[in-house]
């Protein structure tokens, strides 16, 4: 053929680029020796991690002890524990209104309630689905894919889709009307909006946990089930004596993972509830941090960082528990 195909051209272009990139790298190798090459290969990654992951962690802690509105640490006055004091000063922690930073405590309680309901509902739904999918049921691949599909969608898309579904003129109200129930503006009602934030979260994430639990279920040796069926054990007995005990460690890991992720609820709830509404009914901790730092012109970076550090400590504790469980599982 006289004219080269497009793929040939692409391949040639790539070869050319690589030729250009290769020359200085090979020069480095001749100069420094083969032993030093891994450092060169690691350099881009480590530089990026250093600047965008480790540096922020170092700053985060320092930031929490500064006040003012300046952006850089050098422009900010040191205020000691003032930010933490502002966050934690409270007459009665159960009543956010009595706290100096009532918005923070509203967010803390909203988050705790959300975590409680969301973890329970997601874990139950994922476990039931995984147990069912683990049976030799027909079209298993199809159902697994179906339950998993929402996991891949963007939180903004999910927020909007559900907002429309729950709209005053949405499908849910149309369905309720068929049953003779008067329409309801779900997202403007405190109770309903909280309920649906959990529903949407379960809908969004349960496929992910189902998949992890399913992998755990499939790792249970088959001969245990064969032995159980020889002993004519009832399905219920098999479930409680074999399946669940052997899945136990897996379940614990999923539980902690679910807690870590639930504490950080933000994106889909933010879109669904128009920024935590009605009022502050669905305002969560990450939203508080976001709003203090970026939401207004106040730019309370110190206060936001202090709240981040507090949340970070909780997440760290959960992570350490998870690691310890993981190690126990391996041994």
């Amino acid at each position: 053929m006289s004219t080269p195909k497009a793929t040939d051209l692409g391949g040639r272009a790539l070869d050319f680029v690589m030729g250009v990139v290769e020359a200085p790298i090979n020069g480095f190798e001749r100069l420094m020796g083969r032993k030093r090459m891994p450092y060169l290969f690691l350099a881009p990654n480590l530089i990026l991690f250093g600047i965008f992951t480790f540096l922020p962690i170092a700053i985060a802690v320092g930031y929490a002890f500064t006040g003012g509105t300046g952006l850089f640490v050098s422009e900010r006055p040191f205020v000691g524990f003032d930010n933490f004091r502002q966050l934690l000063q409270c007459e009665d922690y159960l009543r956010p209104g009595s706290c100096r930073e009532s918005l923070f405590w509203t967010a803390v309680w909203n988050t705790l309630w959300f975590v409680g309901f969301n973890v329970a509902a997601t874990l139950l739904a994922a476990l039931v689905t995984a147990l069912i999918l683990n049976r030799a049921i027909a079209a298993r691949g199809f159902f697994r894919a179906m339950f998993f599909y929402p996991v891949l969608l963007s939180p903004v898309v999910i927020g909007l889709i559900w907002k429309w579904f729950l709209d005053r003129n949405g499908l849910l109200n149309a369905f309720l009307q068929m049953l003779g129930v008067p329409p309801e503006i779900f997202l403007l009602d405190v109770g309903w909006s909280r309920f649906f934030v959990v529903v949407v979260s379960v809908w969004f994430h349960m496929g992910f946990y189902t998949l992890i639990l399913l992998a755990g279920l499939q790792a249970i040796p088959k001969d245990l089930y064969e032995a159980a069926s020889i002993d004519a054990a009832s399905p219920r007995r098999t479930l409680f004596r074999i399946t669940l005990p052997l899945l136990g460690p897996n379940l614990l890991v999923v539980l902690i993972l679910l807690m870590i992720r639930s504490v950080q609820i933000f994106d889909e709830a933010w879109v669904l509830t128009n920024g935590g509404g009605p009022g502050t009914a669905n305002s969560f901790i990450v939203q508080y941090i976001y709003q203090m730092a970026f939401g207004s012109d106040l730019r309370l970076f110190g206060l936001a960082s202090a709240a981040s550090v507090l949340m970070g400590l909780v997440l760290l504790a959960l992570t350490l528990i998870q690691l310890r469980l993981g190690r126990k599982m391996e041994s």
């Binding site: 339950f147 889709i161 809908w203």
Partner: protein, 352 residues
């Protein structure tokens, strides 16, 4: 027809053929209800995205996108709307000239004579299936959605390419060399898995301002390139590549970079594919980080743009849903074709 050839034979393939117990029924009910629950909000939004602006807020809504039919009638300048009318106990299609209180003046569209007065209670609008493609075309031309789309495609493509290269290089170093600090560096990289963005977002923003990347697409590309999940996934895969291959290439005087580029990288293709799929999904769906970093409209990605758009035009659901669908479509296509890779990737690494 024999049972084996029946198109629904697979439905009967259970563990104990022939016996369907209560557990089976309940299992099926759960799976089918779950599937419906997953599909309904998505399909409903999809159908609604094709409804004309006038139809979308109708309550109770119709399932399919329909719109009132209009027709030009000889003798009238503007097109008239068609209605089904009861005249003398007969149902007819007529065009409405005007409406006065509870009465409407109607004409026969094919044979317009003097208008007939009809009780509005007996009328219902004639509707046909209409697909409002303007919901999709308007936002792309009149609003900034083409810009958002371009930004998202750019970010997704460039970030994924760089993610693959940078993390593959690091994984190569960590899997195929013995050097001082190897273990420490690996542990350091993996430990960043435990630091969620939500905890460091304020100082991370400061760093991005410091290096001059704020309100720039590079400000959301560069900080996300180095990925602990990526390094881990690729390293585990590269460990399975036999070292003899590399030794043989060294005997042939190949440079270390050439070994990486010509031997290791092609052999890592399956793991690279998994990482590429995940990177595309992550970058396409990213919301919180772009929301913080980007401030001017011409730099918004699709997700940030969608969020801003729904705040400004809270009533224009037809546009919002169409754009939502545009953002959802590539993900759905990726999922349909690469479902196996994604699910095994997640089950294998526990990443999302």
């Amino acid at each position: 027809m024999s049972q084996g050839l029946s198109p629904i034979a697979f439905l009967r393939r259970t563990r104990r053929p022939g016996r369907i117990g209560v557990t089976d029924v309940l299992s099926w009910a759960w799976l089918i209800l779950g599937t419906i629950a997953v599909l309904i909000p998505v399909v409903w939004a999809g159908l609604s995205s094709f409804k004309p602006a006038a139809e979308i807020t109708r309550f109770p809504p119709t399932l399919l996108p329909r719109a009132a039919v209009q027709q030009t009638v000889p003798g009238f300048d503007a097109p008239l709307s068609l209605w089904t009318v009861d005249v003398d106990g007969q149902s007819r299609e007529m065009a409405m000239v005007r409406r006065i209180g509870l009465k409407a003046q109607m004409v026969d569209p094919s044979n317009p004579g003097p208008p007939v007065s009809v009780d509005v209670k007996t009328m219902s609008p004639v509707q046909r299936l209409t697909i409002a493609t303007e919901n999709y075309t308007d936002p792309l031309t009149r609003f900034d959605f083409l810009t958002f789309l371009k930004n998202s495609v750019f970010v997704t493509f460039v970030a994924t390419l760089l993610t693959l290269v940078v993390n593959a290089l690091a994984a190569f170093a960590l899997s195929k060399y013995r050097f001082r600090g190897e273990k420490a560096i690996f542990v350091l990289i993996i430990s960043t898995l435990m630091i969620p963005l939500t905890v460091v977002m304020v100082p991370a923003y400061l760093v991005v301002v410091g290096v001059g990347l704020v309100d720039s697409l590079w400000g959301i590309i560069i900080p996300t390139i180095a990925s602990p999940t990526g390094v881990f996934l690729l390293r585990q895969y590269m460990l399975t590549i036999p070292d003899e291959l590399i030794e043989a290439a060294r005997v042939d005087a190949a440079s270390e970079f050439r070994i990486f580029w010509r031997i290791v990288l092609p052999l890592t293709a399956p793991a690279l594919a998994v990482l590429a799929i995940f990177s595309v999904l992550w970058r396409w769906n990213d919301f919180l980080w772009p929301l913080i970093v980007l401030s001017s409209r011409e730099n918004f990605t699709l997700q940030v743009g969608l969020n801003a758009f729904q705040g400004e035009f809270s009533v224009q659901w037809n546009y919002i849903l169409a754009m939502t669908f545009l953002s959802l479509a590539p993900v759905t296509v990726v999922f349909l074709f690469l479902q196996k890779y994604i699910t095994t990737g997640i089950a294998g690494t526990g990443m999302k």
